[in-house]
Protein backbone atom coordinates (compact mmCIF):
# COMPACT_ATOMS: atom_id res chain seq x y z
CA UNK A 1 0.00 0.00 0.00
CA UNK A 2 2.24 2.73 -1.25
CA UNK A 3 1.58 5.92 0.54
CA UNK A 4 2.63 8.38 -2.07
CA UNK A 5 1.33 11.71 -3.10
CA UNK A 6 1.13 12.21 -6.80
CA UNK A 7 3.49 14.97 -7.73
CA UNK A 8 2.19 17.75 -9.99
CA UNK A 9 3.14 15.74 -13.07
CA UNK A 10 1.00 12.86 -11.87
CA UNK A 11 3.92 10.53 -12.19
CA UNK A 12 4.17 7.59 -9.86
CA UNK A 13 7.09 5.25 -10.16
CA UNK A 14 6.89 1.63 -9.18
CA UNK A 15 9.54 -0.06 -7.06
CA UNK A 16 10.87 -1.65 -10.19
CA UNK A 17 11.40 1.72 -11.76
CA UNK A 18 12.91 3.33 -8.70
CA UNK A 19 15.47 0.60 -8.25
CA UNK A 20 17.66 1.16 -11.34
CA UNK A 21 17.91 4.85 -10.60
CA UNK A 22 18.97 4.15 -7.07
CA UNK A 23 21.42 1.54 -8.25
CA UNK A 24 23.26 4.22 -10.21
CA UNK A 25 23.74 6.04 -6.94
CA UNK A 26 24.72 2.83 -5.19
CA UNK A 27 27.46 2.32 -7.76
CA UNK A 28 28.97 5.69 -6.84
CA UNK A 29 28.64 4.78 -3.16
CA UNK A 30 30.56 1.57 -3.81
CA UNK A 31 33.33 3.36 -5.66
CA UNK A 32 33.73 5.94 -2.94
CA UNK A 33 33.73 3.19 -0.30
CA UNK A 34 36.35 1.23 -2.21
CA UNK A 35 38.78 4.03 -2.95
CA UNK A 36 38.17 5.62 0.42
CA UNK A 37 39.11 2.40 2.16
CA UNK A 38 42.23 2.03 0.02
CA UNK A 39 43.34 5.49 1.06
CA UNK A 40 42.45 4.70 4.66
CA UNK A 41 44.66 1.58 4.67
CA UNK A 42 47.52 3.40 2.94
CA UNK A 43 47.36 6.10 5.58
CA UNK A 44 46.64 3.92 8.61
CA UNK A 45 49.76 1.77 8.50
CA UNK A 46 52.35 4.60 8.41
CA UNK A 47 50.30 6.57 10.93
CA UNK A 48 50.26 3.59 13.31
CA UNK A 49 54.00 3.08 12.87
CA UNK A 50 54.59 6.80 13.32
CA UNK A 51 52.55 6.77 16.49
CA UNK A 52 54.65 3.93 17.89
CA UNK A 53 57.95 5.38 16.71
CA UNK A 54 60.57 6.43 19.25
CA UNK A 55 61.23 9.63 17.27
CA UNK A 56 59.26 12.31 19.06
CA UNK A 57 58.64 14.51 16.03
CA UNK A 58 57.18 11.61 14.11
CA UNK A 59 54.99 10.35 16.92
CA UNK A 60 53.66 13.83 17.68
CA UNK A 61 52.81 14.36 14.05
CA UNK A 62 50.98 11.04 13.91
CA UNK A 63 49.13 11.72 17.15
CA UNK A 64 48.09 15.13 15.80
CA UNK A 65 46.77 13.61 12.59
CA UNK A 66 44.89 10.88 14.45
CA UNK A 67 43.37 13.17 17.07
CA UNK A 68 42.34 15.89 14.61
CA UNK A 69 40.66 13.57 12.17
CA UNK A 70 38.99 11.53 14.86
CA UNK A 71 38.06 14.49 17.02
CA UNK A 72 36.39 16.69 14.45
CA UNK A 73 33.23 15.71 12.71
CA UNK A 74 33.48 14.04 9.30
CA UNK A 75 31.05 16.53 7.86
CA UNK A 76 33.24 19.39 9.05
CA UNK A 77 36.18 17.77 7.28
CA UNK A 78 34.22 17.28 4.06
CA UNK A 79 32.91 20.85 4.12
CA UNK A 80 36.37 22.15 4.84
CA UNK A 81 37.77 20.37 1.81
CA UNK A 82 34.81 21.35 -0.32
CA UNK A 83 34.23 24.98 0.69
CA UNK A 84 37.52 26.20 2.08
CA UNK A 85 40.13 24.77 -0.30
CA UNK A 86 38.87 26.41 -3.51
CA UNK A 87 39.08 29.87 -1.96
CA UNK A 88 42.20 31.89 -1.19
CA UNK A 89 44.65 31.27 0.36
CA UNK A 90 44.62 27.66 -0.83
CA UNK A 91 42.99 28.01 -4.23
CA UNK A 92 42.79 24.26 -4.66
CA UNK A 93 39.63 23.08 -6.37
CA UNK A 94 38.85 19.40 -5.99
CA UNK A 95 35.91 17.64 -7.55
CA UNK A 96 33.24 16.37 -5.15
CA UNK A 97 34.41 12.86 -6.00
CA UNK A 98 37.97 13.64 -4.93
CA UNK A 99 36.83 15.49 -1.85
CA UNK A 100 34.71 12.49 -0.89
CA UNK A 101 37.54 10.00 -1.24
CA UNK A 102 40.17 12.17 0.43
CA UNK A 103 37.87 13.22 3.28
CA UNK A 104 36.53 9.76 3.99
CA UNK A 105 39.92 8.14 3.53
CA UNK A 106 41.69 10.46 5.95
CA UNK A 107 38.85 10.28 8.47
CA UNK A 108 38.57 6.52 8.57
CA UNK A 109 42.35 6.24 8.22
CA UNK A 110 42.72 7.96 11.59
CA UNK A 111 40.53 5.34 13.23
CA UNK A 112 42.31 2.70 11.20
CA UNK A 113 45.62 3.86 12.61
CA UNK A 114 44.44 3.03 16.10
CA UNK A 115 43.19 -0.35 14.93
CA UNK A 116 46.54 -1.09 13.27
CA UNK A 117 48.39 0.06 16.36
CA UNK A 118 46.48 -2.45 18.44
CA UNK A 119 46.95 -5.14 15.82
CA UNK A 120 50.69 -4.61 15.50
CA UNK A 121 51.05 -4.60 19.29
CA UNK A 122 49.23 -7.89 19.45
CA UNK A 123 51.90 -9.73 17.47
CA UNK A 124 53.91 -11.90 19.88
CA UNK A 125 57.30 -10.56 20.96
CA UNK A 126 58.83 -13.93 20.13
CA UNK A 127 58.23 -13.23 16.45
CA UNK A 128 60.49 -10.18 16.65
CA UNK A 129 63.14 -12.27 18.42
CA UNK A 130 62.98 -15.08 15.89
CA UNK A 131 63.32 -12.56 13.06
CA UNK A 132 66.30 -10.92 14.76
CA UNK A 133 67.92 -14.30 15.32
CA UNK A 134 67.56 -14.97 11.60
CA UNK A 135 69.19 -11.60 10.89
CA UNK A 136 66.24 -9.91 9.21
CA UNK A 137 66.51 -6.19 8.61
CA UNK A 138 63.86 -4.07 10.34
CA UNK A 139 62.04 -3.40 7.10
CA UNK A 140 61.94 -7.02 5.93
CA UNK A 141 60.97 -8.14 9.39
CA UNK A 142 57.97 -5.81 9.37
CA UNK A 143 56.86 -6.55 5.85
CA UNK A 144 57.23 -10.34 5.84
CA UNK A 145 56.69 -11.35 9.46
CA UNK A 146 54.90 -8.72 11.53
CA UNK A 147 52.55 -7.06 9.06
CA UNK A 148 50.88 -10.25 7.78
CA UNK A 149 50.08 -11.26 11.33
CA UNK A 150 48.92 -7.76 12.25
CA UNK A 151 46.62 -7.60 9.24
CA UNK A 152 44.89 -10.77 10.32
CA UNK A 153 44.33 -9.34 13.79
CA UNK A 154 43.02 -6.11 12.27
CA UNK A 155 40.28 -7.74 10.24
CA UNK A 156 37.61 -7.90 12.96
CA UNK A 157 37.79 -4.27 14.03
CA UNK A 158 38.59 -3.33 10.43
CA UNK A 159 35.30 -4.77 9.21
CA UNK A 160 33.42 -2.50 11.60
CA UNK A 161 35.38 0.47 10.31
CA UNK A 162 34.62 -0.49 6.74
CA UNK A 163 30.90 -0.54 7.50
CA UNK A 164 31.27 2.83 9.23
CA UNK A 165 32.88 4.07 6.04
CA UNK A 166 29.98 2.77 4.02
CA UNK A 167 27.48 4.59 6.21
CA UNK A 168 29.56 7.74 6.19
CA UNK A 169 29.51 7.86 2.41
CA UNK A 170 25.94 9.09 2.73
CA UNK A 171 27.35 12.44 3.82
CA UNK A 172 28.98 13.05 0.45
CA UNK A 173 25.49 13.66 -0.87
CA UNK A 174 25.70 16.92 1.04
CA UNK A 175 28.65 18.03 -1.07
CA UNK A 176 26.67 17.34 -4.22
CA UNK A 177 28.12 13.94 -5.10
CA UNK A 178 25.53 11.69 -6.75
CA UNK A 179 25.72 8.72 -4.45
CA UNK A 180 22.84 6.59 -3.23
CA UNK A 181 21.69 9.17 -0.68
CA UNK A 182 21.82 11.96 -3.23
CA UNK A 183 19.78 9.97 -5.73
CA UNK A 184 17.28 9.04 -3.07
CA UNK A 185 16.82 12.65 -2.14
CA UNK A 186 16.58 13.65 -5.79
CA UNK A 187 13.92 11.05 -6.50
CA UNK A 188 12.04 12.02 -3.40
CA UNK A 189 11.94 15.63 -4.47
CA UNK A 190 10.73 14.56 -7.91
CA UNK A 191 8.07 12.05 -6.94
CA UNK A 192 7.38 12.50 -3.24
CA UNK A 193 7.26 8.74 -2.88
CA UNK A 194 9.20 9.20 0.29
CA UNK A 195 8.31 5.95 2.00
CA UNK A 196 9.31 3.68 -0.88
CA UNK A 197 12.39 5.58 -1.86
CA UNK A 198 13.96 5.89 1.52
CA UNK A 199 12.94 2.40 2.56
CA UNK A 200 14.57 1.08 -0.58
CA UNK A 201 17.68 3.15 0.08
CA UNK A 202 17.91 1.84 3.63
CA UNK A 203 17.56 -1.73 2.43
CA UNK A 204 20.26 -1.21 -0.17
CA UNK A 205 22.69 0.13 2.43
CA UNK A 206 21.83 -2.80 4.63
CA UNK A 207 22.54 -5.26 1.84
CA UNK A 208 25.85 -3.56 1.05
CA UNK A 209 26.82 -3.72 4.72
CA UNK A 210 26.10 -7.45 4.83
CA UNK A 211 28.08 -7.92 1.63
CA UNK A 212 31.04 -6.25 3.30
CA UNK A 213 30.64 -8.53 6.31
CA UNK A 214 30.66 -11.63 4.11
CA UNK A 215 33.55 -10.34 2.01
CA UNK A 216 35.72 -9.63 5.04
CA UNK A 217 34.95 -12.98 6.53
CA UNK A 218 36.25 -14.71 3.44
CA UNK A 219 39.34 -12.48 3.47
CA UNK A 220 39.87 -13.55 7.07
CA UNK A 221 39.54 -17.19 6.12
CA UNK A 222 42.15 -16.78 3.42
CA UNK A 223 44.62 -14.92 5.61
CA UNK A 224 44.18 -17.34 8.48
CA UNK A 225 44.86 -20.34 6.27
CA UNK A 226 46.37 -23.13 8.30
CA UNK A 227 46.11 -21.30 11.58
CA UNK A 228 43.03 -22.97 12.89
CA UNK A 229 43.54 -26.05 14.94
CA UNK A 230 42.92 -29.11 12.86
CA UNK A 231 41.97 -26.94 9.92
CA UNK A 232 42.58 -27.53 6.26
CA UNK A 233 45.96 -26.55 4.84
Amino acid sequence: MPISLLNPDGQVLTMGELLPLLIQGAWVTLQVTFFGSLLAIVVAIPAALGRMSPWRALSWFSIAYIEVFRGTSLLVQLFWLFFVLPLPPFNLELSPYSVAIVGLGLHIGAYGAEVMRGAISSVAKGQYEAATALNFSGYKRFRRIILPQALLAAIAPGTNLLIELLKNTSLVSLITLSDLSFRARQLDQATFQTLEIFSLALVMYFVLAQAINLGMRSVERRLARGRMRGGLS
Binding site: I3, L5, E67, V68, R70, G71, T72, S73, L74, L75, V76, Q77, F79, W80, F83, V84, L87, P88, P89, I163, K167, N168, T169, S170, L171, S173, L174, S181, A184, R185, D188, T194, L195, F198, S199, A201, L202, Y205, F206, A209, Q210
Partner: protein, 218 residues
Protein backbone atom coordinates in the same frame (compact mmCIF):
# COMPACT_ATOMS: atom_id res chain seq x y z
CA UNK B 1 45.11 38.42 2.13
CA UNK B 2 46.10 37.00 5.49
CA UNK B 3 45.85 33.32 6.19
CA UNK B 4 43.30 33.61 8.95
CA UNK B 5 41.20 36.70 9.37
CA UNK B 6 41.06 37.14 13.13
CA UNK B 7 38.69 40.10 13.13
CA UNK B 8 36.22 38.19 11.03
CA UNK B 9 36.57 35.20 13.31
CA UNK B 10 35.96 37.34 16.37
CA UNK B 11 32.90 38.87 14.68
CA UNK B 12 31.19 35.60 13.92
CA UNK B 13 32.02 33.99 17.24
CA UNK B 14 28.79 34.99 19.02
CA UNK B 15 26.63 33.51 16.27
CA UNK B 16 28.58 30.31 16.34
CA UNK B 17 28.41 30.07 20.11
CA UNK B 18 24.68 30.54 20.06
CA UNK B 19 24.34 27.72 17.55
CA UNK B 20 26.71 25.60 19.59
CA UNK B 21 24.13 25.69 22.37
CA UNK B 22 21.76 24.03 19.95
CA UNK B 23 24.40 21.44 19.15
CA UNK B 24 25.00 20.64 22.77
CA UNK B 25 21.30 20.63 23.58
CA UNK B 26 20.58 18.20 20.78
CA UNK B 27 23.42 15.98 21.94
CA UNK B 28 22.29 15.94 25.54
CA UNK B 29 18.62 15.25 24.91
CA UNK B 30 19.43 12.77 22.17
CA UNK B 31 21.77 10.99 24.54
CA UNK B 32 19.11 10.79 27.23
CA UNK B 33 16.73 9.24 24.74
CA UNK B 34 19.42 6.85 23.61
CA UNK B 35 20.37 5.56 27.04
CA UNK B 36 16.78 5.02 28.13
CA UNK B 37 15.51 3.53 24.89
CA UNK B 38 18.71 1.53 24.56
CA UNK B 39 18.13 -0.15 27.90
CA UNK B 40 14.65 -1.27 26.89
CA UNK B 41 15.93 -2.49 23.54
CA UNK B 42 18.67 -4.45 25.26
CA UNK B 43 16.31 -6.10 27.70
CA UNK B 44 13.91 -6.90 24.89
CA UNK B 45 16.68 -8.39 22.79
CA UNK B 46 17.74 -10.65 25.62
CA UNK B 47 14.20 -11.75 26.31
CA UNK B 48 13.55 -15.43 26.05
CA UNK B 49 10.34 -14.84 24.17
CA UNK B 50 11.51 -15.06 20.60
CA UNK B 51 8.50 -13.18 19.29
CA UNK B 52 10.01 -10.22 21.13
CA UNK B 53 13.73 -10.79 20.84
CA UNK B 54 13.94 -11.57 17.14
CA UNK B 55 12.15 -8.52 15.76
CA UNK B 56 14.03 -6.30 18.17
CA UNK B 57 17.33 -7.86 17.13
CA UNK B 58 16.39 -7.24 13.52
CA UNK B 59 15.52 -3.61 14.13
CA UNK B 60 18.72 -2.99 16.08
CA UNK B 61 20.85 -4.60 13.40
CA UNK B 62 19.07 -2.73 10.62
CA UNK B 63 19.40 0.68 12.22
CA UNK B 64 23.02 0.08 13.13
CA UNK B 65 23.91 -0.95 9.60
CA UNK B 66 22.29 1.97 7.78
CA UNK B 67 23.24 5.64 7.63
CA UNK B 68 21.91 8.16 10.11
CA UNK B 69 21.31 10.60 7.28
CA UNK B 70 18.78 8.39 5.51
CA UNK B 71 17.06 7.52 8.77
CA UNK B 72 16.68 11.21 9.54
CA UNK B 73 15.39 11.95 6.03
CA UNK B 74 12.98 9.10 6.49
CA UNK B 75 11.57 10.49 9.71
CA UNK B 76 11.49 14.07 8.49
CA UNK B 77 9.69 13.39 5.21
CA UNK B 78 7.61 10.35 6.04
CA UNK B 79 6.20 11.24 9.43
CA UNK B 80 4.12 14.17 8.14
CA UNK B 81 2.32 11.67 5.90
CA UNK B 82 1.12 9.96 9.02
CA UNK B 83 -0.22 13.17 10.44
CA UNK B 84 2.66 13.73 12.85
CA UNK B 85 4.00 17.24 12.64
CA UNK B 86 7.18 18.13 14.40
CA UNK B 87 9.85 20.73 14.01
CA UNK B 88 13.06 19.80 12.30
CA UNK B 89 14.89 20.00 15.63
CA UNK B 90 12.48 17.55 17.25
CA UNK B 91 12.77 15.12 14.38
CA UNK B 92 16.53 15.47 14.46
CA UNK B 93 16.74 14.74 18.17
CA UNK B 94 14.52 11.69 17.88
CA UNK B 95 16.38 10.45 14.84
CA UNK B 96 19.79 10.70 16.42
CA UNK B 97 18.46 9.37 19.72
CA UNK B 98 16.95 6.25 18.17
CA UNK B 99 20.04 5.64 16.01
CA UNK B 100 22.39 5.70 18.98
CA UNK B 101 19.93 3.79 21.15
CA UNK B 102 20.68 0.81 18.94
CA UNK B 103 24.45 1.08 19.45
CA UNK B 104 23.95 1.59 23.16
CA UNK B 105 21.60 -1.37 23.33
CA UNK B 106 24.50 -3.57 22.28
CA UNK B 107 26.68 -2.03 24.97
CA UNK B 108 24.02 -2.73 27.58
CA UNK B 109 23.70 -6.26 26.27
CA UNK B 110 27.38 -6.83 26.81
CA UNK B 111 27.12 -5.41 30.30
CA UNK B 112 24.09 -7.48 31.21
CA UNK B 113 25.68 -10.61 29.78
CA UNK B 114 28.67 -9.98 31.97
CA UNK B 115 26.65 -10.12 35.17
CA UNK B 116 27.30 -13.57 36.61
CA UNK B 117 24.55 -16.07 36.13
CA UNK B 118 24.43 -16.63 39.86
CA UNK B 119 23.01 -13.17 40.34
CA UNK B 120 20.10 -13.86 38.03
CA UNK B 121 19.44 -17.13 39.82
CA UNK B 122 19.55 -15.47 43.24
CA UNK B 123 17.01 -12.94 42.06
CA UNK B 124 14.68 -15.71 40.93
CA UNK B 125 15.20 -17.72 44.08
CA UNK B 126 14.38 -14.74 46.25
CA UNK B 127 11.29 -14.11 44.16
CA UNK B 128 12.11 -10.47 43.54
CA UNK B 129 9.85 -8.71 41.04
CA UNK B 130 11.55 -7.94 37.71
CA UNK B 131 11.49 -4.16 38.10
CA UNK B 132 13.12 -4.22 41.54
CA UNK B 133 15.48 -6.94 40.44
CA UNK B 134 16.85 -4.84 37.61
CA UNK B 135 16.87 -1.64 39.56
CA UNK B 136 18.54 -2.85 42.75
CA UNK B 137 20.57 -5.90 41.84
CA UNK B 138 21.32 -6.39 38.17
CA UNK B 139 21.77 -2.92 36.76
CA UNK B 140 24.19 -1.59 39.38
CA UNK B 141 26.52 -4.45 38.53
CA UNK B 142 26.04 -4.26 34.79
CA UNK B 143 26.46 -0.54 34.51
CA UNK B 144 29.88 0.08 35.93
CA UNK B 145 32.04 -1.47 33.20
CA UNK B 146 29.95 0.00 30.42
CA UNK B 147 30.20 3.62 31.48
CA UNK B 148 33.35 4.28 29.43
CA UNK B 149 31.83 2.96 26.18
CA UNK B 150 28.73 5.05 26.91
CA UNK B 151 30.97 8.07 27.26
CA UNK B 152 32.54 7.29 23.90
CA UNK B 153 29.13 7.16 22.27
CA UNK B 154 28.28 10.54 23.78
CA UNK B 155 31.31 11.96 21.99
CA UNK B 156 30.38 10.15 18.78
CA UNK B 157 26.86 11.52 18.94
CA UNK B 158 28.17 15.05 19.38
CA UNK B 159 30.23 14.68 16.24
CA UNK B 160 27.23 13.32 14.34
CA UNK B 161 24.97 16.29 15.03
CA UNK B 162 26.06 18.16 11.86
CA UNK B 163 24.27 15.48 9.87
CA UNK B 164 21.03 17.04 11.06
CA UNK B 165 21.87 20.17 9.09
CA UNK B 166 20.58 18.23 6.10
CA UNK B 167 17.06 18.56 7.41
CA UNK B 168 17.58 22.26 8.16
CA UNK B 169 18.30 21.94 11.84
CA UNK B 170 20.29 25.00 12.78
CA UNK B 171 23.16 23.56 14.71
CA UNK B 172 26.68 24.88 14.64
CA UNK B 173 27.70 23.45 11.25
CA UNK B 174 24.66 24.82 9.50
CA UNK B 175 25.27 28.20 11.12
CA UNK B 176 28.84 28.16 9.88
CA UNK B 177 27.72 27.36 6.36
CA UNK B 178 25.21 30.20 6.45
CA UNK B 179 27.80 32.64 7.72
CA UNK B 180 30.27 31.44 5.14
CA UNK B 181 27.89 31.82 2.24
CA UNK B 182 26.84 35.28 3.40
CA UNK B 183 30.39 36.53 3.59
CA UNK B 184 31.94 34.40 0.84
CA UNK B 185 34.56 33.30 3.30
CA UNK B 186 34.36 29.81 4.70
CA UNK B 187 37.82 29.28 6.13
CA UNK B 188 37.23 30.91 9.49
CA UNK B 189 33.73 29.63 10.31
CA UNK B 190 34.39 26.03 9.31
CA UNK B 191 37.79 25.93 10.99
CA UNK B 192 36.26 27.33 14.15
CA UNK B 193 33.55 24.69 14.08
CA UNK B 194 36.25 22.08 13.65
CA UNK B 195 38.11 23.44 16.66
CA UNK B 196 34.87 23.45 18.63
CA UNK B 197 34.35 19.76 18.01
CA UNK B 198 38.00 18.97 18.57
CA UNK B 199 38.06 20.78 21.90
CA UNK B 200 34.84 19.20 23.13
CA UNK B 201 35.75 15.70 22.02
CA UNK B 202 39.21 15.89 23.61
CA UNK B 203 37.68 17.24 26.83
CA UNK B 204 35.01 14.54 26.90
CA UNK B 205 37.53 11.83 26.04
CA UNK B 206 39.69 13.02 28.91
CA UNK B 207 36.73 12.88 31.28
CA UNK B 208 35.89 9.38 30.12
CA UNK B 209 39.45 8.26 30.81
CA UNK B 210 39.33 9.83 34.26
CA UNK B 211 36.09 7.99 34.86
CA UNK B 212 37.70 4.73 33.78
CA UNK B 213 40.54 5.23 36.22
CA UNK B 214 38.18 6.05 39.04
CA UNK B 215 36.13 2.95 38.40
CA UNK B 216 39.20 0.74 38.31
CA UNK B 217 40.52 2.05 41.56
CA UNK B 218 37.41 1.05 43.44
Amino acid sequence: MTLFDWTYAWQILPDLLRASLNTMGITLIGFLIAIVLGLFLAIGRRSRRSWLSWPIAGVIEFIRSTPLLIQVYFLYYVLPNFGVSMTAMQVGIIGIGVHYACYIAEVYRGGLDAVPRAQWEAVTALNIAPYSAYRNIILPQALRPILPPLGNYLVAMLKDTPVLSAITVVEIMQQAKNIGSENFRYLEPITMVGLFFLALSIALAYLVRRLELRLELR
